[in-house]
Subunit: 132 residues, 4 copies
């Protein structure tokens, strides 16, 4: 999948969570989102489900930069710190590309660079022709 | 926290994801959500971020049945199968209650009982008086 | 693989860690080990690597009860409590059997039943004819 | 704990697995081990338990470079490739240092640099005076 196709592709839940692609490079991508009140938990901090969602989105975009199609197979997330407002960024970097499994490391940060979560995502390849 | 207090407490992201509490018992809870179009990914299946979110919600509710307050520290999720519509259920059961860390096992199922995801969630106790 | 074949098969690291099969039933197995001084860490408690090893062993044995061959793809372990001597037991139970991926839940316990670790293991099928 | 104290400290299971410290720098450490026949699984490849053990060892050494004492709380490991002989190296790098929780990323490699496993380890601080 080309960066253009990736950007044009509709993903309703990504849009529902106001997540936008910032950068698509081979094996390294970035997305961002402005925190909205509906993304908060009962304590007024960003919900863990939202932080996972932004990580999952950038992970898929990063995996697909080889031109193939992927689904998330499993993920492990550590919640480190949290914020109540502003913008969050998530970057995905490839740790390993196998024939079937791609492992992506994701870091989610606040706009001041503070680390909010680190996530390891295993993506499973559904096929397609690699462009790498 | 009593079941009543749990039910009345506002959690904006839980409401944004249409997640409702079905059952609150000591160390065992259930939530549900009707799949809406905005919860789907580009392939028309429920987004992994949504499945994580419903698991995180039931995990917190289950941890708090001891009357104390918790935040999610880390989680590991396996995505097993997926659906495009209908209702999903998530059940949380306590694997271990320590002084500080509670481990919750969550199973997310489709309305026909098919297992969609299994999740292990580590919750960190923020204090409060236990009622157990 | 039959229970007999499983029991006869040599696994040098399993033997090096004194791990013995206790029970092989369809989708549910148990192994045990007597703690030896060389299994301890600097604090005199069982080393986390040993607890992972016994979990990994029972996970493989449990996955293979369908007659097919598996390797461990990934695992998530929580260390809950620890002991300094005696015997430890690990039980494996199938959470999900897919075409390629089997998910096994493992509980590691001390001989008094105290939970030492809970582990989720993803096993990847290398082929073979299923007997289920 | 100083690098000298770390090196002199006995850890029976680390020694039983022939794991030796290669490098101790602030927040970044390396260990190595020569593969011995007893570290292999039934297929003749390094056992997953051994790969986890070497990762857990370097993780503890890395966490303790702040002078405090730690135990492993949880870990997530992906097994990527495997070898049958030679030497393996594991490097630990700090992702995040909190008041109580330190997150360490570990990469396990064969002697030709091939990635065998990536591991995220959460270490829990047991106290001690920080030297950072």
């Amino acid at each position: 999948m080309s960066a253009d196709e990736e950007l044009k592709r509709h993903n309703l839940y990504r849009e529902y969570n106001a997540i936008e692609v910032v950068k698509i490079e081979q094996d390294h991508c970035e997305v961002k989102a402005d925190i909205q009140p509906q993304f908060l938990n009962h304590g007024g901090y960003v919900h863990g489900g939202f932080l996972f969602t932004i990580a999952d989105c950038v992970s898929g975009t990063t995996a697909r930069t080889d031109g193939r199609e992927y689904v998330t197979q499993s993920a492990h997330i550590n919640f480190i710190r949290n914020v109540q407002s502003g913008r969050v960024y998530a970057t995905g970097s490839i740790i390993s590309r196998g024939r079937k499994i791609v492992i992506v490391q994701v870091l989610v940060r606040a706009e001041d660079g503070m680390l909010l979560a680190n996530v390891t995502v295993n993506m499973f390849c559904m096929g397609g022709k690699t462009n790498v």
